[in-house]
Structure formats: C-alpha cells, structure tokens
Amino acid sequence: MARIRIDHAKCTGCRHCETACSLNHVPNTVNPRRARIRVMRDGTRYYPVIAGPFVDAACTSKLFIETGDHAYDQCALCRASCPEKPYFIEAETGIPLKCDFCGIPPAPSCVRWCNSGALELVEE
C-alpha cells in the first residue's frame, strides 16, 4: 500500500502543501485552515501533520516522545481532529477534516507541491 513518508528534517515550513490541499478540496479556494495537512512549528523545526480521525474529546494524558536529543510534544504530532487542538476543524464550515489521499489511486496534491523532499509517496 502506498504511504506518505514525512521527513521533517527536510521540511522548510513553506506551507505550500497546505495551499495545495485546500485548492484540491475546495474549488478555487485557498485556506490553510481548510487543509488536511498542517505544518507545526517548533523553533527551527517543522512537522508536517496529516489529518487522521475525528475524536470528540481530548486525551486526558499528555505525552512527550524523546528520540536522541529531541523531545517532541505528542499533541503537536497527533493526527486527530480534536477539540483540544482546533487544527483539523475546517474554518468557515466547522466540519472535521480527514485526509482522503486525494482519491484512488492516491495522488496526493501536498506531495506534488512539496519541493524539499519532506513529503514523498512511497510504495510498499
């Protein structure tokens, strides 16, 4: 199955992926708050996050993941459209968003506009 590989070390924070996604899903419209991918930022690092499932309540626990010398806030990396983090609730409509891989077979618009190699479509 195809997957999107996200390499956040390569991400430049340009947010072209956000504009691509919104243009692809809402005709003639650009709005990062209507995109199913959002780029989180932490200092000089960027984490592209692609929308996953809708949840109606926030987690009661908070987690950090540590890899090497870096600690990641799991809430920032989480894919849920969740009341705690209003990132994947579509602006102007209030509908929760979820990535649909841009159709069958997957033709992700975000990957096409990501020029840094941070997003890549890989077959497994």
Binding site: C14, T19, T29, T44, N115
Partner: protein
Amino acid sequence: MNGWIGRCLRVNLTEGKHRIEEIHPQILNKFLGGRGHGVKIFSDEVSPQTDPLSPDNKLIFVSGPLVGTGAITGASCNVVTKSSLTGALACAKMRGHFGAELKFAGFDMIIVEGKAEGPVILSIRDDKIKIDPALEYWGRSTSETEALYKRNMGDPWAARETFLAGIGPAGEQLLPLANIVNDRFLSVGGAGIGAVMGSKNLKAIAVKGQHSLHVADGSRFVQVINTMINKLNSASLTSQSMSQWGTAFLVGLCHQKGILPQNNFRLGTLSLKNIGTEALNSAFALRSRSCFACPVGCIKKTDVKHPAYEGRGMVPTYLAIGALGVNCGVNDLAAIGMANMICAEMGLDPVAAGGMLATAMELIERKTVTPEELKIDLRFGNSDAMLEALRMISTKKGHAKRLGQGGKALAESAERPDLFMGVKGLSLAPFDPRAIQGLGLHFATCNYGPHHLYGNTFIDELLNVHEKLDPWDAEGKPLLVKRFQDTTAVMDSLGLCSWPLMGLKFNNYIPMTNSCLGTEYKADDLMAIGERIWNLERTFNLRAGLTSNDDTLPERFVTEPIADGPGQGQVSRVNEMRPEYYHLRGWNENGEPLPETLSALGLEEHN
C-alpha cells in the same frame, strides 16, 4: 474578488480607533497591489514635506494579490513610508509568513496613522482588532517580544498560527538604521522604517486569521504551478545553489569578478577559504527555511551548538557576509552570523549598519577620528569591536549615539563626507559598482537607495541567466537597468520574490498571475504598470526635494580605480550611462519625468 481581498484596515493610533474600508478595484487595476498600491495611497495621502518621525507620516503594510494564494513565492508584504534615513520613500519587503497571514485575516492593507501616547501592539485575531498597551514589551528584542506575546495569548495552538512584525530596541530609539523584523526574518531594504514605527509607539503588529482566498481558475492555476516548480528544479541556480547555500553562494562568484567589496570598498583580494560555501558547510549544519509557498527555500537556519548561536542562529546570507563581514575586514563566519543575529534581534538594517561600521573603520584608519573619541576600537577586522558596537548603538548611550545616526552623519561630523559609501543617505549593498556597471547605475538611480533587490541586474550581468553580459561592460546597461527596475516593481506589487528569476523568466509568471486573478495581462501590460509605479515613486521623491544630484555614486567609484584583485583598474561609468538612462525613462536632463511621459502612464495628476 480573486487574489485580492478588497479590504483595508485603517488604524489611527492618536485616537486609538480603527475602521475597515473598501479598496477601489480601479486602483488595483492601475497599480496591482503590494508596493504599487502602497506607494499610490501614500503619495495621495501624505505630503512629501512631512517630517518622517512626525505623527503625520503614515506606515502602510500591504500584501500583493498573489500573496497567500499558493502562487510561487507569493509571500511578500511591503511596508511603505517616508524614511527617516533617506528622507525619500521607503519600501521594505517583508518575507516570511506575515504577508500571507494578513490576507487570511481578511486584509490587503493596513494603514497606520498618528501616534499612540504610549507603547502599543496592534493585534488582529480572527476578526477581533485591538490596540493593546505594550509597555511590557518595550525595550525587548524582537524574538523576546514574539515569545512573550505568544505566551500572553494564553492559547498555544492559536499562538503557533500567529505572526508578528515589529521593531526592536533600535526602532524604539528612533535610530535611522532601524529596520522592521517579522517572524525573525529581517526585511529587505527597510532602513529607517523601524524608526518611523518607533515614532508611532507601535511595537508590533500581530496577525492571525482564517478567511479563504479565492483564485479565478483553480485547475489551471495548479497546472501552471506544477510547471513552474519543474522549471525551478531544472535550473541549477535555484535548485542547487540557492537551495543549498542561500544567497551566500554568490560570495565566490562576486569575488572572482572583483565585485565583493572589502574594507569600505577599497580592496578586492582576500582568501575565500574562511567565508566561501565550503567554509559555510563546515561551520554550520544548514537547514533550509522557506517563506510562504516558496519551493526554493533560500533561508538557512542552523541548530549548531555554537556558544555564540545558542541554537537559534541564522546562517549569514550574501548581504551579511558582504556588509557585516568582508567590507568591515571580518572573515570569521561565526562573528558574521552573530552580527547578523544582533541586527535581527535589535531590529537594525544589516546593510545600513554594516556601511556605518565600515565608514567608522576607515575614519579611524585615516586617523580622522580616534578610537578614544568613539570609545571603541573599530579597526578593520576587529570583529569583537564590531559586535560590541552593534549591541551598543541600540542602547543609544553616550558615544554610541554618534554611531547610531548612520554612516553619512558620522562621516559628515568628521568632515569627511567622501568616506561614506552610500547614495541618498543609505549605504551601498555590498557590490562594488566599479566591477558591475549596470548594478552601479541602478544603485545611483534607485528610488529606494542603493539596494540590489529593487533591480537585481546581476542575474544577467553576473549569472548570465537570460542574457550573457559582461559585468565590466557599460554597453546596453541603461536599458537592462530600466527593465529590471520595472520588473521588480511588478513583482513587488504582485507580492512575489524576485530571486527565482534566477531560474524563471518574467514571462513564466504571466499565466500564474492571470489564472489566479482572472485577468488577461500580457507581459507588456505588466511592464507598463511597473514603469508607472517607478515614475510615481520618482515624482514623490522629487517633490520631497531630491534632485538628479542624488543620482550619483560616491566620488571613490568614479575616480579611484579598484586597487587590486580581479577587478583591478575598473571605475564606474555611471555618469556616462545616466543621460541614456534618463532618456530611456522619458525624463529630462534633470531627471524629471516629462509631462508626456507621465500622461502616457496615466499619472497626469502627479505632474
């Protein structure tokens, strides 16, 4: 509307009030938006005689129509005002994400008028517009201000999506060298604007919005952008040089041609060992960072645990390496990066500040001024003294005051105005105009002072992207300069960055513009708009008291040939090229646009 929003936010700080106005489509057709639109409104509303630091001066933030739409490099927000450094128009180009966020907040433009009684921050957050007291931010560096503001928002998720543009201590102290900084990106060409913002007691503007932008023909727009990305990827300058090293890759090329100035534009020999791209690679782990919607990513951040960087460093760009480094005799990349960072934190313009330092250094070398007088040992190559001076001028204490007034004032007070290497009061960007003739003519004639990003002819003169030209040759350069100046005016007005012209032709932008805006512009239509904008700016400056005497380069470039290095023997032929340039522009011998030129451009009322 497509691309444009059609709304403007007018804020009067004296009264503490704001109102939302509609923008007339006619003005957009004539001036596009961005820089053109800003200059038009400014010249209609503000008298050229206005004192830049008085409440009568206005500060206009304006994003172009392509900004935020996903159009390639559509990120630029221009800041238009009358500069306290040059007394002429100023237009800073703010890159980063502020411009796009302003559009998502539902505005093309913010006009700031008057003066607040005490420090304030203007915040625009999801349609709520507030002018908040900002005493606790006053005196803080730009990154501290940003961090504290975001903490005070009380909502970390909203804070992540908020972008600030503001001034550092330099702007608060009304230093003419002060620039405006957004999202830790230094803006380009903003010398003097920071002081105007400081004079209004406006510390920063914070924006966050969630409105949609519309494009006319989405599917065509997407296709066109796919092609443009492919084009950028097949051009080695954009896909390799710029992506890998940012503008710092120019250091080696400029050096080979004698363009990289050293020690206040006097020498041309130096070893690239310490400052070339290889040195850059080994000194820093480079991470690319992009402005909104830019596939190139020329800004380099670093995570290196260098004691001087504290994990938040910005890798020096060509401008920093030239202005704060080589031209001050400094060739230590860590020191240059540090100097660049101090500029960003204090809100200083690196070109103006670097030029001031180089002037001071030459004054000291010639013993016109003693280090004791300045209380700082500013010798060429003394990076510690340079860093100390940069830190100190923003405090405006004692002797630092004299430095903070800029290179021109310093040279004049020492009775050696000839040692200031600048035009219209602004220091030259670090390109020796003797070794690159077209750029020299541009430096002399540019409405905004000698900055390459209002007409970067070196794309053809040095990099030979569209035409193969010789930088040392003056033949045909006036036309080249005019073309680049007009092109840049168009791109600034659309809200685009001009660096990708290293991999794209101007014509490549036309389908993107038309499919986004629903217009039917041809290249010539846009170039005519560019020319209109250039002439409008010119008439404002002339009314503000500038004359053709301000269209010259310092004597050194015309009379002293480059002493050594690859460019040895070259002098600038700016005075020979200027009449032809005036003629091509349709101006008289005093550099004033002829009535027929203005009426052909639809600018009769500015005659």
